[in-house]
C-alpha cells in the first residue's frame, strides 16, 4: 500500500502559500533592482499549487508549465536551488541549464516545466504510460493554463489518455489570461472543464483561490484517478495577479478586473478565515510571514553566492 501523508492543516496550507508568495516577491525585488533573467510569476495562483500538490503522494509525478514556482515549492523544492536555477548558477536544479522556464527536479517527481505552451500536455500520457506498464500506484499530474487548453495538443492528450486509460490528473489553472490576451478573446464559454466530457472524462471546477476547496477537490480527483486509473480534469478558477512576465505590466488590463480579483486574493482569504477562527493571531501571522521572507532571503544569499557554470560545460550532457 501507499505510504500516505497526514492531511495538511489549514496552517500548513497558509505557510506553504506564504513561502510561494515570498519567493515570487523576492524575484520581483530582484527585477526592480536591476537586470535579472526573464521570469513569469505565479502570484495569485498559490492556492491551486498548494491545494493540488498537498493532495499528492510522494511517488506521484508532476508536469507543469512556465508558471511553475508554486508547484515546485509546494512539492518541497529548495528555494535556494530554484533561485540559483533562475539565475543560471551551477547549484540550480538543472545545473543552470534550464533557467526559470524549464525546471525539472527528478528527486521531487517533477518531470518537466514546459515553456512551450502545451508541451507538458504532450508528454503527460507517456509518463502515465510508464506508470501503467512499469507498475506502482503513482499518478501523473499535469498543470496547464487556459491558454494551453486552446492548443490542439490539449485535445490530443486528453483523447489518448482516455482511450488508453492512463492515470493522469489534468489540472487547468484557468487564470483568465493567455500571455497578453484575455481568454474571452480566444474561447467560447468561460470554462475548460466541460470539454472533458467529449473525451468520456469526469471533471470538476473549483474556486482556485480557496486553498481548502482546492485541496478537497484535488483529493477527490486524485483518489478517483488512483482508483480507476483513468484521467480526470480539474479546473481551478483563478487569476494571474501580475503581467505575463517581469517586469510587471498590466496596462492592458481593466483596473476593475484587477481590483475584483485582488479582493479574492487566496492568501488574504485563508488568513482572514484563520484569524476569525482564532487559529491565528495578528502576531502569529506576522511571525509566519517573517519566517517565509527570511527563508527567501537565505535562498537569495545562497543563489547569489553560487558560481556560474564553467563555459567548458557548454556542450556537456547534450547526449547520454
Amino acid at each position: 500500500m501507499h505510504p500516505s501523508r497526514p492531511a495538511p492543516t489549514r496552517l500548513d496550507l497558509l505557510g506553504a502559500m506564504l513561502r510561494i508568495r515570498a519567493y515570487e516577491e523576492k524575484i520581483v525585488a530582484f527585477h526592480e533592482r536591476g537586470p535579472f533573467p526573464h521570469v513569469c510569476t505565479s502570484v495569485g495562483q498559490e492556492a491551486t499549487a498548494v491545494g493540488v500538490v498537498s493532495a499528492l503522494h510522494p511517488d506521484d509525478q508532476i508536469l507543469t508549465n512556465h508558471r511553475s514556482a508554486g508547484h515546485l515549492l509546494a512539492r518541497g523544492a529548495d528555494p535556494g536551488r530554484l533561485l540559483a536555477e533562475v539565475m543560471g548558477r551551477s547549484t540550480g536544479y538543472c545545473k543552470g541549464r534550464s533557467g526559470t522556464l524549464h525546471i525539472s527536479a527528478k528527486e521531487l517527481g517533477v518531470i518537466l516545466t514546459s515553456t512551450i505552451v502545451g508541451g507538458e500536455l504532450s508528454l503527460a500520457p507517456g509518463v502515465a504510460l510508464s506508470r501503467s506498464l512499469l507498475g506502482g500506484e503513482g499518478i501523473v499530474v499535469c498543470f496547464f493554463g487556459d491558454g494551453a487548453a486552446c492548443e490542439g495538443i490539449f485535445h490530443e492528450s486528453l483523447n489518448l489518455a482516455s482511450v488508453w486509460n492512463l492515470p493522469v490528473l489534468y489540472v487547468c489553472e484557468n487564470n483568465q489570461w493567455q500571455a497578453f490576451v484575455h481568454r474571452k478573446e480566444t474561447m467560447v464559454g468561460d470554462h475548460i472543464a466541460p470539454w472533458a466530457a467529449s473525451y468520456g472524462m469526469d471533471s470538476l471546477t473549483v474556486d482556485g483561490n480557496d486553498a481548502e476547496a482546492v485541496l478537497e477537490a484535488a483529493t477527490r480527483a486524485a483518489a478517483q484517478v488512483r482508483a480507476t486509473r483513468r484521467p480526470f480534469l480539474l479546473e481551478a478558477w483563478t487569476y494571474r495577479q501580475r503581467g505575463h512576465m517581469e517586469p510587471h505590466d498590466q496596462s492592458y488590463v481593466d483596473p476593475a478586473e484587477i481590483q475584483a480579483w485582488l479582493a479574492k486574493d487566496p492568501i488574504a482569504r485563508l488568513e482572514d478565515r484563520l484569524l476569525a477562527s482564532g487559529e491565528l493571531t495578528r502576531e502569529s501571522l506576522e511571525a509566519l510571514r517573517a519566517e517565509a521572507r527570511a527563508a527567501m532571503e537565505a535562498a537569495a544569499d545562497f543563489a547569489t553566492a553560487s558560481p556560474y557554470p564553467d563555459p567548458s560545460e557548454l556542450t556537456a550532457g547534450v547526449y547520454a
Partner: protein
C-alpha cells in the same frame, strides 16, 4: 544468410529487441494492425494503435522514454513529422541537456521518405537535415536490409532519441541479412566499394545509384570509391576524410534538396579538413529546391541518376590529370 526486405529486417529488429528488453514497446498509426505478428507475440500493452495525431504520438514517446520505457514510434511518412516537430525537437532533443542530465530520451521515430512510390510531396519529403541540425537527436538512413536491422537495434539500445528514415524505394527490395545477432553501431559509415580516384559519398537509395555509377566509371578506367554514410548524425567524419585524402576528389549525392542539406555539411568538412588533398572542387548532386512531384518521370528527374554521377566524376578526374614525375 537469409533474404529479406528492409521492411522485414526492421520488423525483425524490433521483435528481437522487444524479446530482449521488456521496456521496448511500439506504437503509432496502424502499428498493431499492420504488424499483427508483433501484436500476437507481445500483446496489446506493448504494440498499440494510436489516433492519427503525430504530435501526441511523439510526445507520448518522449514522456514514456523519460520515465523508464524505450518506445519505438511509427509516424508513417516524413512530412507528417511537421506535426511532431515540437515534441521531437523541443522536448526529446533538448530536455536531457536542459534538465542537467536528469532525464534521458531513449526513443526511436520511424518514418518513410523518398521517391519511388509516386506518393507526392505531402508523403515524400527528405527532411533528414532538419533533424541533423537539431541538438540532442541522432539520425540514421540506411541503404541495405542488413543495415536496417543492425541500425534499428542500435537505435533502440541508444539512450538518445533517434530519427530512423526509411527510403521508400528500398522498403520491399530484398537483400541478404546474416543469421544471428546483427548490430550496426550508430556513427559508422561503410565503404561499399574501394577505389582510388574519386569518392562517391551518399546514403539511402542513392548509395545504389553510386554503386551503379562506379561500375560504369570502372568500364571507363576510373576507379571510384563509394561511401555509405548510414548514420547522418553522428557523422563518420574520419571515414569521409580518409577516403577523400586518398582519392583527392568527391561527389556527394543525395535526394534531399541542396541548400543546407547533408551534402553541404560533407562539402564544408572537406574544405575545412582536407583542402590540401583536394585535386578538384567537391561536387554535390542533389534533389532540386522543389516539392517532390508525384508523376513518375518527374520523380525520377528529381532524384540524382547514375549518368549524372558518372559525368560529374569523370569531369573531376579529367580536370586534374596526374602530374608526371620529373625524374
Amino acid at each position: 544468410m537469409s533474404l529479406m526486405t528492409a521492411h522485414e529486417a526492421l520488423d525483425q529488429a524490433v521483435a528481437e529487441e522487444m524479446q530482449r528488453d521488456a521496456r521496448v514497446l511500439m506504437f503509432g498509426e496502424g502499428v498493431a494492425t499492420k504488424r499483427k505478428h508483433l501484436l500476437d507475440a507481445f500483446g496489446p500493452q506493448r504494440v498499440r494503435n494510436t489516433p492519427l495525431a503525430e504530435g501526441i504520438i511523439a510526445g507520448t514517446a518522449a514522456g514514456a522514454a523519460a520515465t523508464g520505457l524505450r518506445p519505438v514510434v511509427d509516424l508513417l511518412f516524413a512530412p507528417f513529422l511537421c506535426f511532431a516537430m515540437d515534441e521531437i525537437v523541443n522536448s526529446a532533443g533538448k530536455l536531457r541537456y536542459m534538465s542537467g542530465g536528469q532525464f534521458s530520451f531513449p526513443m526511436v521515430v520511424v518514418t518513410m521518405t523518398g521517391g519511388g512510390w509516386t506518393v507526392g510531396a505531402q508523403h515524400n519529403h527528405n527532411l533528414e537535415a532538419w533533424f541533423v541540425h537539431s541538438p540532442g537527436l541522432k539520425v540514421v538512413m540506411p541503404s541495405t536490409p542488413e543495415d536496417f536491422k543492425g541500425l534499428m537495434k542500435a537505435a533502440i539500445r541508444d539512450e538518445n532519441p533517434v530519427l530512423f528514415f526509411m527510403d521508400m524505394a528500398l522498403a520491399f527490395v530484398p537483400g541478404e541479412v546474416p543469421e544471428g545477432e546483427v548490430f550496426v553501431p550508430l556513427g559508422q559509415a561503410a565503404i561499399r566499394r574501394e577505389g582510388t580516384e574519386v569518392t562517391l559519398i551518399s546514403y539511402a537509395k542513392t548509395v545504389h545509384t553510386c554503386l551503379a555509377a562506379a561500375e560504369t566509371l570502372a568500364e571507363q578506367g576510373i576507379s571510384a570509391e563509394v561511401i555509405d554514410l548510414r548514420t547522418l548524425k553522428p557523422l563518420d567524419e574520419a571515414t569521409i576524410l580518409a577516403s577523400v585524402r586518398k582519392t583527392g576528389r568527391a561527389v556527394v549525392v543525395h535526394e534531399a534538396s541542396r541548400l543546407c542539406g547533408v551534402g553541404a555539411e560533407v562539402t564544408a568538412l572537406l574544405s575545412e579538413q582536407a583542402f590540401d588533398a583536394l585535386k578538384a572542387p567537391v561536387v554535390r548532386l542533389t534533389g532540386p529546391d522543389a516539392p517532390a512531384p508525384s508523376s513518375y518521370p518527374l520523380e525520377q528527374a528529381f532524384t540524382p541518376q547514375a549518368e549524372a554521377i558518372v559525368q560529374a566524376a569523370a569531369q573531376l578526374v579529367a580536370r586534374s590529370p596526374e602530374v608526371a614525375p620529373i625524374w
